[in-house]
Symmetry: C2
Subunit: 337 residues, 2 copies
């Protein structure tokens, strides 16, 4: 019988508007034992993602909502501390949906081995994880950027946006990022090599896009929705592609969600707006990871992680995403490596 | 010198909201004389289209706005009454952008000959004209319907919608129309062969779509925008295609235009929303006309025109479109055949 203590955040109420501490219960239970084909994973880092807000809502979506009383869903990287599967050994590092807890019993087939010598472990939750794959498939498969086209990405310093812009540069595009604050703007231009950045908190986004996209926007990768999506739609080039990846400005106010008022720009410009979630590309994750790791090794794909220590900080750390308070991929460090 | 009197509607003010009589001047001038390569056309029928409302607005679009003081732009069918081009003879019937007037001097290359033995002349402004081509390219090129998929079209009894639904039936789809009033609904089901129709003036559109599209909507062809677009978005099937062809509910209130609140349905369903205007397909008009005429000859493509007599009725007849008061393609008969 396991005597390892396992702290867990369980969802106990469906949030109305912004997530609150009282939507969760934080309690301990003994860590489970792996059955045949299973492993016990000690969680080292947890991924905090805007999509988590959607998983807390009732109702049909691309994935079932987290049930009330269940451990909150989250991706994580951890160390195998017990194994009843020949494919994974104690001491291996894996990534998977561990949930917001110290220890997770997982099916071995749902835990992917990762190599800590190729990249720091938290990167497998960011540029080399779901956000990186999201950027890869969304930009290349839906956006189909061509050399010398103008690509605009919102939340440009975020986990997805930073990878979108760098892949667009690799493909020979002009890249304009939209981010909040001068520090994030400097990061995407000076460190990541974007051609320009617009600080939506201190600058006029429309004026900036007019300046940096004199021929209009060929590809717009949207992570935010709301007013910035409207402005981008109003400045599309002919045959533009708009990728709907997220809408972080709207996730805490779905009842009064603002639709894109300039959607008729699609009509006059023969443009296309298409949405996706990364799980749609499950069968091609291998291809995506190969490309992302390759670019990382060549120094063409940079990333940074914003690490907050302590599982107990989960509810307030999650809120940093919606304030844009994180610099890079937001993760919680649950235990020392 | 011509002494033929030519009555003309000129745009003299940019309408605010709904079009008013006072936005136009109705006056006479002598009909012009055709120069080399030109023809003089007596207009017999004029096409009234929702798109006309957009042409009256200032600002960049897919086509230049009608200038103040210029004859209002319109498609028309007419008889050649003077020709200085070897390709067209007096007595030929042609279709082209004649403008809202009795007589038009046109370049012969901008006037396409039509055959009055194949179909009644007004049909070349409807099912065998721009609306028919709009339906053809929008549905087939953008919508790409596959056999047994569910296709929904709004303004289903209108000039475009009626052709969309019939082509979808030809392609083996289940077709649901949305139209205003029981008469239009009976028309699309009983005369045009749609599988079902929903009367948005008297029925709950959402309940109707849930009933008739139990697997969700695979292709939604939108002519109306506003609330009906919202409802359709909320009921998309996976990998659905939404064709943005028009937004007649919004054209007279562009300043307060309502964006599609359910656009995140594109994200969760990996769906696509794409706009177009028929002029994008200029190079393929021949292909489209061949198909439309062929289906008409085979009795698979039916149409009806709503004919109002008298050029002088133009401003008030145009308003019928926005009230949905027309049954079939709305045309003005300017002169007897």
């Amino acid at each position: 019988m396991s005597t390892i203590e396992n702290r867990q955040f369980k969802l106990i109420a469906r949030p109305k508007g912004m997530v609150k501490r009282s939507d969760f219960e934080f309690a301990s239970a003994p860590a489970g034992e792996p059955g045949p084909g299973e492993v016990l994973v000690q969680v080292l880092y947890l991924s905090l993602d805007p999509a988590m807000r959607g998983w807390m809502n009732e109702g049909k979506s691309y994935i079932a909502p987290v049930g009330l009383g269940e451990v909150m869903r989250a991706g994580g990287v951890g160390r195998v501390v017990g194994s009843r599967d020949p494919g994974l050994a104690v001491g291996d590092f894996v990534v998977g949906m561990t949930g917001v807890q110290d220890y997770a019993v997982m099916k071995a087939k749902d835990a992917s081995k990762v190599d800590p010598r190729l990249a720091p472990l938290p990167r497998y939750l960011g540029a080399l994880g779901m956000p990186g794959l999201t950027a890869y498939f969304g930009l290349l498969d839906i956006g189909q950027p061509k050399e010398s086209e103008t690509v605009v990405v919102s939340a440009a310093a975020g986990a997805v946006g930073a990878v979108v812009g760098q892949i667009a540069k690799i493909k020979g595009c002009r890249v304009v990022g939209i981010a909040g604050g001068p520090e994030k703007c400097r990061y995407v231009t000076d460190e990541l090599g974007f051609d320009a950045a617009i600080d939506y908190k201190n600058q006029d986004v429309r004026a900036g896009l007019l300046q940096f996209c004199p021929q209009g926007i060929d590809v717009y990768f949207d992570n935010v929705g709301g007013e910035i999506l409207d402005i981008a739609l109003s400045l599309l080039a002919r045959k533009a592609r708009v990728i709907i990846c997220g809408a972080i400005s709207q996730y805490n106010s779905m009842e009064s969600l603002q639709g894109p008022r300039y959607y008729l720009s699609l009509l006059v410009n023969h443009a296309r707006m298409e949405g996706f979630v990364v799980f749609d590309y499950l069968a091609r994750y291998g291809e995506g990871m190969q490309a992302l790791v390759g670019w990382t090794m060549q120094g063409k794909l940079k990333a940074r992680e914003h690490v907050v220590k302590g599982l107990e900080t989960f509810p307030q750390t999650l809120l940093m995403l919606f304030r844009g308070a994180n610099a890079g991929k937001l993760v919680i460090q649950v235990a020392d490596e």
